[in-house]
Symmetry: C2
Subunit: 567 residues, 2 copies
Amino acid sequence: MMDRLTPHDIFVVLLSLATLLLVARGAGELARRVNQPAVLGEIVAGILLGPTLLGRLAPEAYVFLFPQTGHAAIVLQGLSAVGVILFLLVAGLEVDLSMIWRQGRSAATVSITGIAVPFLLGLIAAWTAADAFGREAGADPWLFALFFATALSISALPVIARTLMDLDLYRTDFGMVVIAAAVVNDLLGWLIFAVLLAMMGGPSAQAGVGWTIVLTLAFATFVLTAGRWMMDRVLPWLQAHTSWPGGVLGFALSAALFGAAATEWIGVHAVFGSFLVGVALGDSIHLREQTRATIDRFVGSFFAPLFFATIGLNVDFVANFDPMLSLLVLAIACTGKVLGCAAGARAARISSREAWAMGVSLNARGAMEIILGLLALQNGIIGARLFVALVFMALVTSIAPGPCIQRILGRRRVRRFVDYLVPKAFIPRLASTDRREVISELCRTIAPATGRSAQLLEDAVWNREQTMSTGLEQGLAIPHARIPGLAAPLVGLGLSFGGVDFDAYDGEPARIIVLILTPEDDRGVQVNLLADIARTLKDPELRTKVLHVTNATELLALIRTEAPPPA
Amino acid sequence: MMDRLTPHDIFVVLLSLATLLLVARGAGELARRVNQPAVLGEIVAGILLGPTLLGRLAPEAYVFLFPQTGHAAIVLQGLSAVGVILFLLVAGLEVDLSMIWRQGRSAATVSITGIAVPFLLGLIAAWTAADAFGREAGADPWLFALFFATALSISALPVIARTLMDLDLYRTDFGMVVIAAAVVNDLLGWLIFAVLLAMMGGPSAQAGVGWTIVLTLAFATFVLTAGRWMMDRVLPWLQAHTSWPGGVLGFALSAALFGAAATEWIGVHAVFGSFLVGVALGDSIHLREQTRATIDRFVGSFFAPLFFATIGLNVDFVANFDPMLSLLVLAIACTGKVLGCAAGARAARISSREAWAMGVSLNARGAMEIILGLLALQNGIIGARLFVALVFMALVTSIAPGPCIQRILGRRRVRRFVDYLVPKAFIPRLASTDRREVISELCRTIAPATGRSAQLLEDAVWNREQTMSTGLEQGLAIPHARIPGLAAPLVGLGLSFGGVDFDAYDGEPARIIVLILTPEDDRGVQVNLLADIARTLKDPELRTKVLHVTNATELLALIRTEAPPPA
């Protein structure tokens, strides 16, 4: 007799998937709103839908939606397992092996001290006070200490890369050293953890731990040498002879699943295999940006949110939250990592300011930490209390880097003019046809948002306009002024089909007129916004589309989707 | 106690997923090689991996890889269920409701007769000879007859759209009428089938069949009116205020899953819900091409192959193949559909030639038919014999249209110059620096593939060259000639860093020199290829990349991935 999903099973699976996805993506978006990585929100979404909140408020709904037994539970576990495997594929794709060679000595030094110091701290702490850190009763003390040390020394490449991109530091020397160090850190961390998992024994563990470790190392070496060489040969062939991009996508996903199956068979977790396949694949110069982006997008908007949300479904984060333990773990983790990295950076003759910024950047744990913790929990090495403390530590260290680096290096986020657009100050059809009147019309609509009188704004903008016209080429004009005491920049935008003479260089009348008001004391922001507008509206096709927009939401949607920010 | 996937379960799931994906995608690519839809190959892949072949040759491997019981079986079923639901989302996205209004009367006539005739034929056949057509012993005769009639009258929008695109007919009047008719056909067919499923009774069927039908119609009406209106409002908001494209993707997938859950709860199959959500979503002018493409790509390269391959896993297509039944079903299906559509088209005053071509186009059943059949099989309405006959009919009717339309309308496939490139006649660095010598060099390398002497080719090309230079603008030259008795066009390509004087209009020396040899009697192909080369290599960035290519595979890969064919 065959095991079959009943219609009711399918109904429950679909409803819980839809709910998980909606809540996780929603919370992920909220997290990004406050400039945090999306994964943070996704994990919190799972905590809300799990025993921590939904299970308390509406236990029946919780048990119905996320059953712990039966076919629906098994399908959810399977999807979540595939989800984390594909997430690690994406993480692997981001690893750039050649960068490690280029950044050479600095990266190696930072990464080795950045692993060694927290590892040693963790080893000592877990060995001397295993019970305080929540070792499970039956767990091997060595295994526990090694796991704890590994958990403290791992980094989260995706979170770190995202933070650096947000601050426009990714392509700087500083950024490259940090990323290279994080890559080495990831590779070493996962290798150590793979060995730990081997020590726990997998399905092929009859042959003994030694054998599993040998197999793991052999597999890793094989994928990163012969596998890498093969990918580099197979990719151009696939692109030339199979449908694009389906052929390459199918191959990449299938390779990741085979890699995952291989490591699962060896006895280390499946995620290690797909991570290695990702590294080998991402290293090929023949992997096109479009392939990477498609995998990244689909995994990021479907599989990853599902996986991260399911983490919270099985653990009660309130009942198992131990404030002392959580703070202790956080303190050791931060001290070890920041000190270790900064010391390494100083040894590599990096300036003291940048050395500290590197320590803070590499301190981010994020998703990797949580995956590691979950595996340890499932394998009985740690209990729920330490797991919750690790999740807490991962979340806090992922939130911190952005603001800290901003402060240490004095960097600001990349600013785009649409971020400051006042919705009410979008005028789809300007009534005025004359330069002075248009400025007056825009100032009147934006005035309520500034808390200043329209007359004051108009005078300031008109004064600036008279020193030199703000009409740029091709129908774009950007009247602007600095306004004393303004808290943040404000932007208005008006469209004129007939065009308004702004005395432009090329004689074209202005059809898109952007008004920019900036605080008087922030000199950089005005230049940034002017440059952003010019760059964003450079494309004639986009300018035509902007002219046909009818409200501020559509304008925002258009700019966000068709003129992505500089990478 | 919680049900948990063991490492062995996960290993089996990963290995079977990886195998299914690799074999299905591979077979899909082979199908496309011979100009057939990929789904054809994917279904055949499943048949090869299922009891039909692998189960016979290596029963132990088959049972290990694709277990019928246990957790791994359940996870595979769950993934395949999510796969078909997302596939129907994509099918829904392709439906353009406004096109139905635009094509108005013609489309309506073609589609209604195209449904009515095969439906009546099927009804009569199934009613008069239910046993001959393989009705299951316990099945309701009315239900069986209605199902059989529906199965004969459905079309496969994706297959039809793909065939029309291949023949460059998609954006013609002919193509639009066919697509509009197929859309109406799809909507009606699925609605009828939803009602049938309701008659079988779902989880909420206690309330009676009548109630389920009312709920189904109410849900469909709601999604296509209020739901459509809402999507149109939500999409710009998401694009403006959430991360791009993750926010929209997450919303679309979650909406599809909610829709699927709703119809599953009503008691009709989940696929109907995601199809309707797809229609509503695809109808919004705010849905960006990039969102559609990302969903399409990922579903097409992961979920769809998994689903279609699993179809073959559970049925023995050899033991259940009944040649008489299969041919009978095929005959009724084709007669009804082709005659019905052609009659409708004639009534709408479409020329006789085009009317027949429409009948043949709309005759394609493809994936939809098979999904329908699978549901009927799982619900015990039909047996394995009729299911196999339906799959046979779906495959044959999907293969036929392409060649038939080509013959009836005299249309040819869109031809691209890289399709005819002779790998050996790619010269990354031309030795010659003079026009005559370059032509001679290219002719010498391509000669073996033509079965002609290099001298003969060179004379023909040089004669043509002397009537007027083939040097185009911006460093591109396309020497060419018609060669008597050549079976198919042949293309060679040489690169010259120094450039060769081809007496071009703009005085630029030629750096990319493409040699085209075409059969003497096929006048159209030469013009097509010249236009394709000019269009493909128009982009300066692509030309620069072409100059750095080192072998024919890389060239093919570059053109296929970065210069997609005209849609």
